[in-house]
């Protein structure tokens, strides 16, 4: 059994993007999704700091100090892109104009509750950023996260134990082991990596899992 790398997880997530979608990806691992946008589809990336049509990292020497992404990395603009102020940017997020928000998470519950802004015992000043706006406002929320915390604790929970970002918002989760849908009937396994069966995945998951009839092996390129 070979869990996916972070890049493989991002690649898998990117395969589901549809032509013409307006997509916001969060900071951290979701940023990697932009490296694997399918070449046959035109996907418009939204950045909360006032950009639509954001492109990838600039070539060395072509960086613009005023053109950064939400994670503060240097960015570029695609032809057709536009700049606007924060209020319009969050109107897009909060008003349901963003087709898909891809975020990282600490926990997702069986009913799609999301916890991704606060952890126990953090001594730093608390930060929430745009997570609650995206979770409550985007048309669809998908999560990209390791299946388990470093100490093995399951992150797909019966109920979230950490402070919530929003209730019942997550529709799909991409982990290093599986692709799972949060459906009316519970958490449905759509894909699992080679060498893993439902019983094995269930051991690593707190929420009760069911296997989709048409489930598949989760296969990615070497990345």
């Amino acid at each position: 059994m070979m869990p996916l790398t972070r890049r493989q997880m991002a690649w898998r997530c990117a395969q589901d993007l549809r032509d013409g979608q307006y997509v916001n990806h969060g900071i951290g691992m979701p940023t990697l999704v932009s490296d694997y946008l399918p070449a046959d589809r035109e996907i418009v990336l939204h950045s909360e700091n006032g950009i639509l049509g954001m492109g990838g990292a600039p070539k060395p020497g072509e960086e613009d100090p005023d053109l950064i992404n939400a994670g503060r990395g240097k960015a570029t603009l695609h032809p057709g892109g536009s700049f606007f102020h924060h209020n319009d940017s969050f109107l897009m997020i909060r008003g349901g104009h963003i087709d898909l928000s891809i975020m990282g998470a600490y926990e997702v519950s069986a009913s799609g509750d999301l916890a991704n802004w606060a952890i126990d015992g953090d001594t730093r000043a608390p930060g929430v950023g745009g997570a609650m706006d995206l979770a409550a406002g985007a048309k669809e929320v998908r999560v990209l996260m390791e299946h388990n915390a470093k100490d093995g604790t399951p992150r797909i929970r019966a109920r979230c134990t950490l402070p919530l970002t929003a209730k019942a918002c997550v529709k799909r989760v991409y982990t290093n082991l599986a692709v799972l849908d949060i459906a009316r009937e519970g958490v449905v396994v759509r894909e699992m990596i080679d060498g893993l069966d439902l019983a094995g995945l269930q051991k690593l998951t707190e929420a009760r899992l069911t296997l989709a009839k048409d489930w598949k092996r989760l296969v990615t390129p070497v990345l």
Binding site: F83, I93, T123, R124, V128, M132, D133
Partner: protein
Amino acid sequence: MIDKIVDGFAAALAGIKDGDTLLCGGFGAVGEAFALVEAVIETGARDLTVVCNNAGSGQVGVAALLKSGKARKLICSYPRSLDPTVIDDLYARRAIEIELVPQGTLSERMRAAAAGIGGFFTRTGADTQLADGKELREIDGKLYVFERPLPGDFALIKAHRADRWGNLVYRKAARNFNPVMAMAGKVTVAQVSEIAELGSLDPEAIATPGIFVDRVVVHP
């Protein structure tokens, strides 16, 4: 004749006083009026409330102002940065109060202040501990939280170019919070890189009309 261009930061910040709320533009250090914000320290005003998406980075701009101890409170969404030593130290010492506001709610509360809105209901945060103590209301089957306007005594913003009427244009992602803060500040001061002749800015592309700007200070 209208001429909002002032000479130097002291003139730009005249009238700032103890207890004032300052709206400071910028997102991740881009579009932040570093020099103007640092000049607040020299005014001697204390017990300030600073509204800023982040909490500055390193030892400059908003971070410098916070480090100076002039601010009693920070209203922000994400007080983290590449170098958050100033805010992490203040927070560890309980030397500053932090009001954490979701980023879009922060922006919307300032717009409400600018637009004469007495308050609004939003879905953002309604399910969370950030709604504790706030009015909740179910509207069309969904839970909303009531949020109040957030005006500033001063808005300290950064723009690319200005004319003497105070019309502003920005550069790329340096626009961010600056236009909404310009609208929500009782006194709005814009630090700009360049002055443009009146009439030379495209009237279709002015991002902040001069009506929202009281003073312009050049800092190339």
